[in-house]
Symmetry: C3
């Protein structure tokens, strides 16, 4: 087992953590694999069977539930929740790179790599698939099993295949009624362009 | 490797079985992880890369195909088939538990845990996603790739995203025509409320 | 670790490769499991957490991204790309084989096994689910998150749940406009029945 990680990182004896850029307080669970060159912040939870590739960037306090795959070109900001079995992508028109008809395209990463950002505090539900090139806004919520093909702005809830906007979410995760007051935590919001802002 | 399990349980040398509540005749395959506190019955088959969490309850003769994830709060009754890559959930409005705006909610499990039951003999197709809080009835069939957001009653077949009812299934798994006689095993049924009962 | 494989095969120290029918130049990555009896060609890439079962047949230069599951009865021809988290199936009406009401059906493999073929150069997007019994044509493209329930002919693009045909794809992977000329690689095609052929 390779368990090179910074002080204060817990790496399960059955995990592989090859990155030296993992912050203190982060835990990497059984059969997960964090590659050399992946960057992960502090106090994250990387579930069993998760995979974080060289070139992925993950903030602080992020939860990657079991089996999540995060590739080169994906940025997950602080406090995001990535549900079990969520799959990201980083190539809009993939072919096997060793197929003669496609090998030229894969000779240079800029020919095929398309990036994705999950912004602070967003949640992506179980089993969702995120096409590359999209932005998931702050505190947005992606429903379980959704297939996200377009940007989702801050605080929006999107679900379905392809995902469509179906409502608003509070910072705490609960859905917001049209009155934009959370029935769980009582935060109040007002519209601001495509997003919401808190009444302070 | 931790391989504490009761007599008569097969644990692959590359699996982790930390529970002492696994029944005889059950097999746990490579890279699967059964946590301490998970309960699994007799003669089950737990496929490669499956994950069974502390607090999950699984009956006898259940098949969990590869990569299935079963969490705290999920009950899978006897004889159920859970297809490859099926993902359960146990939180309707997940956020990263260490996000300051959500940490309070995660201080008490009753604030967020929502339970799910898969009843005796049901089948869940490959890659399906099951939202928490639902009941999957006896001998019901969930189509591959379905996203289940509502209860599915006994013997019903549901498919799509979100899943909708599309027919009836026999105990043997075959679809039933409107005549409610199975063309494969010849069992005959009659309607009984939301369900079917066998002509004995 | 079992690492019986032919000369020139790279097997990650945390992988299991039990097959002796793996071609030179193929790489098998961490936590992947290739069973005894699986056949894999040359210059393939078998990602982390992938599973290839006894009875699966995989050609040359195939990419199986992370977490892909390929069962007995599945054939993946040369140069195909199988995206991360793609799940195949091989039983149209699965039940737990040890359930008394279904055990008879599972006594003979011909009672339940349904085969699937992915033809040369096809791509299957991330998280797609492929029902058994279908044929995915040469250079066809299946969108991420699609649920494929019917055949997809050569060069066709299909997406959604259930998957529907939405366009044509070039050998290089790029979508083709109605003029059937690729804007990326400049290949030109003409219609030929359900498929396309190259202008030579």
């Amino acid at each position: 087992m390779h368990t090179k990680a910074t002080e204060g990182v817990f790496v399960h004896p059955n995990a592989l953590c090859e990155s030296e850029n993992v912050g203190g307080g982060t835990r990497v669970w059984a059969f997960a694999h964090v590659m050399h060159g992946a960057r992960i912040g502090r106090y994250c939870n990387i579930g069993d069977h998760a995979f974080v590739e060289d070139g992925a960037t993950i903030g602080d306090r992020v939860t990657l539930k079991n089996g999540v795959m995060v590739w080169n070109g994906i940025t997950v900001e602080d406090d995001a929740f990535i549900g079990p079995g969520v799959v990201f992508t980083n190539d809009l028109h993939p072919r096997s790179p060793r197929m003669p008809e496609a090998a030229g395209r894969y000779a240079h990463v800029e020919n095929w790599l398309t990036t994705t950002v999950v912004h602070r505090g967003a949640s992506i539900g179980a089993g969702a698939v995120i096409l590359c090139g999209v932005s998931i806004g702050r505190f947005a919520v992606i429903g379980a099993g959704a297939v996200v093909t377009h940007d989702v702005t801050d605080h929006r809830v999107a679900a379905g295949n392809p995902a469509e906007i179906i409502g608003w979410a509070c910072r705490c995760g609960a859905p917001l009624s049209d009155a934009l007051t959370c029935s769980v935590c009582r935060r109040r919001y007002r519209p601001a362009g495509d997003s919401l802002v808190l009444f302070e």
